[in-house]
Structures are given as C-alpha cells and as structure tokens.
Symmetry: C2
Subunit: 252 residues, 2 copies
C-alpha cells in the first residue's frame, strides 16, 4: 500500500527571525507511520515540519515543510504525480498567515487623515463601519521588515486565512481513503463530534479523528474516530488510534 | 566559577495551541557552556526553552522556560538567591507578547458605534488621532479564547512590549560580569556595532556579542564582541565566540 501521512505543525513567518506556530509534535503521526510500516508492502511518504517526530525507515520518505504555502505546493505535487491508497492528514495546519505588522498608531493615523476630509458626521453607525472597512483597504504599512523593531510600544499583526488544505485532497484523488483530524480545546464530546462530522462531510473524508487537547496527556490520548456512515469508535491511546486507522484502511 | 547562561528563544502564547516564537536554537549557548565546563571548577546554570540545545553534564543545571514572564521570574529568583560570576544572556527574548485577538471588523464596529454619537466632523486630523487612541482603550474584545476559531476571514493580534529582561540583571547583581547579545538582520557592520553599543551602555553590560542573521551559516558565525572600554573583537565561528567569551570572563 502507498500511504501519505502529514504530521507536526506548520509555521508562518512574521519576519526573518519570528514566526507563529503550534504545539503539534508529530508524535501521533509517527506512531501511525510505524503501524503501517509493520506491513512489508507499505510504501510511505511523511510530510512534516522540521521540529516534528518522524519515522526512520528505508521505506519512509520524509519531506520537511514550513508554511501552509509549502505544504500546499508539496501536497499538490505528490497528489498529481503519485497514487496513494490513503492520505492521513494529521498535520496541524495554521488557519492564518501574517500579512502585515504595524504599531496600532499607524492605522489610527491613517483613519484620522482620511477622516479629517470625509463627511463622517453625516454617517450612521452602519455607514461608518463600511467607511472603516473601505479605508482599511487603502492602509498600506511598509512591507514586513526583515526584523521588526522593538521600539514601538505596541504592535498589530494582521492575519488572513490560509487556503483549506484538506479540501483539495479528494478533488485531486477522489479514490484515496482520506483521514482528517479535528482538535478542539475544552469542549463537550457532543460538540466535538458535531464539528468533526462537519469537517468529514465538507471535505469528503472517509474518517475523521476527533480529539480534545485537554484529554491528551502523555500516552493517554482520548479520541473518537468517525466514519462517513455515521459510526463512531472510541480510542484511549495514540497506539489504539494508530491501530484503528490501520485496520480501517487495510480492510476497506 | 558560577556561570549563568540563557539560550534558545522564548515563546508567547496566542491560545492553547498556537504561539509566537523565534528561530533561536541554543546552539551557540550550548557551545559556550561546553567551553566553561572544560574547567573542573565550573558550576553552570542553563536557562533555556524546551526546544533548545543544552549541555548534558552533571555540573550543568538545566532549567526550561517558555515565556518572557517565566524567564523573568526564574532569572529574578536565581539572581536574588545565588551569586554568579558571570551571566551570559544569549537567549532571544520576545519583544512582544499577545494581549488580544479579534477580527478587524470587531474593532471597526467599535469605532463605528462610538463614532456615530461623537462629533467627528468638528475634529482636526490630530484630534481624530487622539479620539482613535482613546476609543481603542475602551475596546475590549473577549479574552483570548482557548482556541481561536478559524471562521473569521481575517484576524488582528494585538501585541504589547514585554519587560526588558537584560536591564534587571545588573540591578540585581551589580558585581556580575554581564554578556549581552544583539542580533540584527541584513544591516551594515557600522549600524550593528552602534546598536550593540547602545545595548551595552543602557544595560551596563561588560560585553555585547553583535551579530547579523545573514552572516550566520552553519559553523560560520560572524560576530563582533564589544566591551565597555570601546574595544571590539572580530569572531568568525561559534567556537571562536565561545572561546573569546570564556577568555574575557576568566581573565577579568
């Protein structure tokens, strides 16, 4: 079987030295990889961040990526040049990327300059909101500097949504078995399963692993595995999650 | 000799899973530690981030910290309970910490609501700027959520300055030999040395290591070591920087 696993977390540059990232370690991804590699016919591609844990095995090709843009390019390349029996997308992908950084005063100065010659007194609250949105469009602080100066008392980082990586997978390879992951923090089981199910339907996943950061402690890793038929399976450890994913894919 | 080294980079939480950090690896800090540990009478404390490289030696006490707040508390504790012959502060400390996150529209909505009943038409550009600053003071988005939703099209992260850690060191231990570090990106040698010298004077450093990210490649690590008497020494590798710092401290 030819398996593609993504693991760890992406990171988005703020400047040459700073970045936004997340605490994903790749530990679960590595355990999933090791379960598949117990089968002698497994060929495995493992896409991960440089800090992530990864399998060391001659049948595992490890590819390192940093940002969502890297991940997207690499994933599109792989999915258009190679056929995978399954894609296990456990990587924590940044939802936002940094587009600008500026002291809050720079933005307020922009509004004040435009506002002095606009007829703000004639506007309702709703019209003012539109005016702010429009005026923000023409706010162009300097491009991200090589290294942001620490002199300003405060700073705004403007972030925009990254493209949804998971939605491209089934479009590029409709026949592959897709396993998605949903991590929430401090929520109820009902809400978690509901949100995970939305992810499954929207992205045509075959399975989604739903988990909550607050019930992950060391080896203990509480998760639900949902499938497209509405079944849910309860797992209690990373090993159990990995074995369950393997069984489901192997028997499909 | 009793030596305190800080190394790696701090990280600042955005929410339970996301954070802002920097690319500091602790590699130089570890090499400096190893040079000091070649002396049998060295006792060493090594404060670093969890991702950083650190010395493995029975005479090295390693303490892990995450945020600037952690670093400050730990450093103050150490400097008020123990006497250090030298403090080598190579850690890349976040200049800013995250205080709020919100969709830009929430802020504009706040301005629009206040603006509808303010007499904005009567104000000059300078008065408007004051009005924006004042109105921003009363903007209180929800506290940082456990995990920021990915639904909003954009996001602003509001950051505020962290306390300057280095300035506290000589206040707490005036007799210690303090080595500061200054990293810039893509600047001239003249500017780098000037900025490093300002750091030295402001924080009563005995030495400052001035380096530029663009002249650090693997083993090659270009740096100037400045002292309070106006001397500068040129180094070309991490090993050379470490040896120079050791010599200066040991012979002082």
């Amino acid at each position: 079987m030819n398996i593609l696993i993504t693991a760890g977390g992406t990171s988005e540059k703020i400047d040459a030295v700073r970045y936004i990232s997340n605490h994903a370690t790749g530990r679960l991804g590595k355990i999933i990889a090791s379960v598949f590699l117990e089968q002698t016919d497994t060929k495995l591609t493992y896409l991960c961040s440089k800090q992530a844990q990864y399998p060391v095995d001659t049948r595992a090709r490890v590819i390192f990526i940093d940002s969502v843009t890297d991940l997207k390019a690499q994933l599109e390349h792989l999915l258009t040049t190679e056929k995978f029996d399954a894609v296990i997308h456990s990587m924590a992908v940044s939802d936002y990327t940094v587009t600008q950084s500026f002291p809050s005063e720079d933005l307020f100065q922009h509004f004040a300059q435009l506002g002095a010659s606009a007829h703000l007194a004639d506007k309702t609250s709703a019209q003012l909101l539109d005016w702010f949105k429009e005026s923000y469009q023409s706010f162009t602080p300097n491009a991200l500097p090589k290294k942001i100066s620490s002199k300003s008392a405060d700073l705004f980082l403007a972030l925009e949504q990254t493209p949804k990586i998971i939605s491209a997978i089934k479009s590029l390879q409709p026949q592959t078995i897709l396993v998605g992951f949903k991590l929430l923090v401090g929520t109820s089981d009902e809400h978690l399963v509901k949100v995970a199910n939305q992810l499954l339907l929207k992205n045509h996943c075959d399975y989604v692993v739903a988990n909550d950061l607050e019930t992950i402690h060391g080896k203990e890793h509480h998760a639900w595995i949902l499938d497209a038929e509405g079944n849910t399976q309860h797992c209690w450890t990373k090993e159990e999650i990995a074995q369950s994913i393997f069984q489901k894919i192997y028997s499909k």
